[in-house]
Symmetry: D2
Subunit: 315 residues, 4 copies
């Protein structure tokens, strides 16, 4: 059994654990996008999985799904469908929160996505007659990160939420995956909000319904894999290969050195805990992923807007 798998994707955490009481998974394919849902139903399952109770939806596309504009649009539309299922009816104002550090590329997904989210709350408030009636009030907020502001992100967001009383909060954050193959090909959406310790910025306090007093969705894309995870997985695959091919000698091998010793070696090879594996074109990938998230949100939060209308906003 794998332990200490460092991933923000419920799908990966669930796959590592195998079948688990209190966890349901569903999968369907939708025109080239695999929609995979993990439902965590019990506190016990949440503890075992290291994921809060709730629903996690993963949209998986094939390789480099973000690099092609048509596929980005297709993914954004599929995402919008899933977001709509989780949005409360008549949510009034939506507050989109872009978590992460705008000046640290792999962590900048949230602030970057915000730049493309259609912000309408002030227009609807100050010139309601001039605003297309299909638009709903959306505000966008980038709280920054603790190391830059000296302020707990959750603290700041709670302060703003208390003031403007949104009907739903949607947090966007950069994620860590377990598998390098998912970086840049996967979106995760959940109705659980953000838990302490998750995301690249490693939040200290929760941003969830309990903390904010309204439904909180979380939206993210993995932009890195921790180097230690890569090393650990490589080791596991090797053990599996040895088991299959190696027959009797495997026993001798495992007696020879302890598993923990080997893991320590691997981690050392991969460098300190803060080393991450990331595509060389990480700047481009973050920009593309941000545009998918923003487009998905723009489609889901407003009524019957086309992609062309969204591109042409403000209108």
């Amino acid at each position: 059994m794998q332990k200490n798998i460092r991933t923000d994707l419920a799908r990966e955490a669930s796959a590592a654990m195998g079948a688990l009481q209190g966890v349901e998974t569903f999968s369907r394919e939708d025109e080239g996008v695999e929609v995979y849902q993990v439902q965590v139903n019990t506190p016990a399952a949440a503890r075992t999985l290291g994921k809060a109770m709730g629903r996690y939806v993963t949209l998986d596309a094939t390789d480099e799904a973000f690099s092609d504009m048509d596929r980005r649009e297709h993914l954004a539309k599929a995402l919008a469908q899933e977001i709509k299922k989780l949005l409360p009816e008549d949510f009034g104002t939506a507050l989109v929160v872009g978590l992460g550090n705008a000046r640290a590329t792999p962590d900048a997904l949230g602030p970057k996505a915000l730049e493309m989210v259609m912000v309408t709350r002030h227009l609807i408030e100050y010139m309601p007659e001039a605003v297309d009636e299909r638009l709903r009030p959306v505000a966008a907020y980038a709280p920054g990160v603790l190391g830059v502001t000296g302020l707990e992100t959750a603290e700041v967001v709670r302060g703003v939420v208390k003031r403007i009383k949104p009907g739903v909060v949607i947090c966007i954050d950069a994620l860590a995956a377990r598998s390098a193959a998912r970086v840049g090909n996967t979106l995760q959406l959940s109705d659980t909000g953000i838990q302490p310790g998750s995301g690249l910025g490693n939040m200290r306090s929760a941003l969830n319904a309990k903390a904010l007093g309204c439904p909180v969705l979380a939206l993210g894309v993995p932009t890195v894999v921790y180097a230690s995870t890569i090393a650990q997985d490589a080791f596991q695959q090797m053990l599996d290969a040895l088991k299959e091919e190696g027959g009797g000698e495997f026993g001798a091998f495992t007696r020879a050195v302890s598993r923990d010793d080997l893991l320590a070696l691997l981690r050392q090879a991969a460098g300190a805990g803060d080393m991450v594996v990331t595509p060389k074109n990480i700047d481009e990938l973050v920009a593309q992923a941000a545009s998918v998230l923003a487009l998905g949100l723009n489609l889901a939060l407003h009524k019957n807007l086309s992609v062309e209308e969204i591109r042409a906003f403000p209108f």
Copy 2:
């Protein structure tokens, strides 16, 4: 008498009005920096001047004072002295607020300065034993602007202030001057906070002691002059010149056309109300001004730090 002078500098507003009951001004020179103070003492004077009651200190240096590193340091030290006079004793936590739009160059002064403000609140809170005891808790916060976030800046700042309860708030904002000669040569510090309609972002609500529940300093540098102001001033200077040189013909001239007609012409020549006059090297100027403000704050908010220590932070 001049009316409708559009300037965020109390010194300019006061100069345009001439001597005024309820307004005191002081001036002294300090090693090449002119320190000029305007004290607005009565509600009537505040109304006439269009500036809230309180103290406004202007530091004026000679031409292009920001382009030279030595002079920037000199100005920052003079600024630190003035800030210290306005800081409450034992202020606990200081919250520095960077107003303005980080993505609009002439308006980006606040967010730019924040990047260089030493942020220490989280260090002091989470690892107090590791922190130099001369450091005081400082947090830094860039609320964004209404057009980008959909949120009233004052609303957001109030939410954060309520959460973290600072002993003093210091707002940094880009200003409009009346005279092009002051752009890039002047700093203004006041104990009045920020009033509605001031600054380039044109705040809708106040950020002052009444709104935030603690002393609020305002700190700014003019980065633009409104084109309409330039035109109006050019006209005024011309009238003055005519008066001096023109003798009797002046009467004939002023009868010929009305003053308002001329002003309308001038405004039209200068373009719509949102045209601003700004140096061509505005990006550089904003960066330099931001570094002066941040250095002045870093010197004033902490105890006995040298410029070298501040440059070497984190230490």
Copy 3:
């Protein structure tokens, strides 16, 4: 007669001069875009106008034409038509040169536009079979400015042109207009290349057919008006108004003070020579203008691409 009018737009220079031997102008309207052509036919006319011999085409749209995506597309298509008329047949490789300083907002138009120009030369050279046959080889080059590189821009561009031997060079540069109303509403295209002293960066040497050995087009948008020009124009309008309304008093007025004295006063009010008048949202305007220029170029340089295909590039 106006002198010393500081404008990079041939249309404005020509309008200031009135009818001039050796200069032909044509105007037509094309679905809301005014296409205005100035043809400078003789060396004498070129000297008087301060513009090199050749053809200058201005596309003028109505107010804030760049702020709306549909109108940007419309303008880009009209621009593409005009560019095609000036492109040599079978030009082989096109080199697009983005002049100006990427780190000075009003001067960053060229480098910004380059970011959106479809670059294909390397694809066609290294994997010709994989490239859509409608694409022609385009390279993009941002030489930087003298103050940042220590290198004469023309010198650097000549070095590159000699190496890669393009069939046409297209220079993009930020321009100064005379009238604030043209900032952000006008595009200028010419077959004359870039002359010394023009553009915001104030080139020292020419980038034209003689210097580079192939046809050189110039493409630009005014992003500023010099403050001194505004002041001068305001004065001129006032004089005109006086002439009309003032009758006999005008003589007395003009005797009273000399024109040059007044101009000096006006210039002083407008600040030093490097002050420019620019819209407050200059960052946004430069981004929008850059996207129009890039889209126009992408449509003109390749064969039968749709706007959607260009957006989806690389394909």
Copy 4:
């Protein structure tokens, strides 16, 4: 014997090979900085090592040497000493070339460093009398990368060199290391120029004395490790550990599976060839490394400037 080690550091390549005919190494410590020199003397050694003939100097500091301003200054001074040893006497003009993609963080080291290099060539040429005589003519040039410009970097640099005829060219480039521990702690300087296939941008043609007609120094800092290298090294360390601890069972183990099978597994775990391992704070690291390189160059290229004078430039 290790093969296919992917590193731009001659020190690592040499260490992987062990003692080799035609390769000399020297090491000394200089106040906390280890100066390690690899001299490749024969074509055969160059082929075996995969490094061109010439001298490679590595400056290794301890952990996170770049994060502390004092240590950055110390490293820069040590670097300046080494650069001076390799500079030709009376080099006339120096051309500093910043290789890499300014918009891809791990590859942006060269362009970022250029921003801080003191550029003086134009000052000395156009106003020699106003320039401090300790300054020598330095130009700075960022050619961009093939994917963005459509132009071979070497082609463009050769064009510029031919025009301005510098006495020495210094190329700055982001490097790949073999060991994650060297990322952000090591500088490499060589007199060999840049070879095809090296650096993150993977140059296609050489930038060396033969290609450019003058001495060419190369200066770089590793900003990434290829994920495949990490995986391979982890495997090697494990084998070594088994050898030591495992005794007789090692034979059985290695018979069980082939080495190549295992390597293939490891590479697969680490993701595609373009995955890189990089610190999470890569943006910060690149900025800090760039400032060390620029300061080292500024100290070496001019005469007797202090760090303070360099910071205060232009003076």
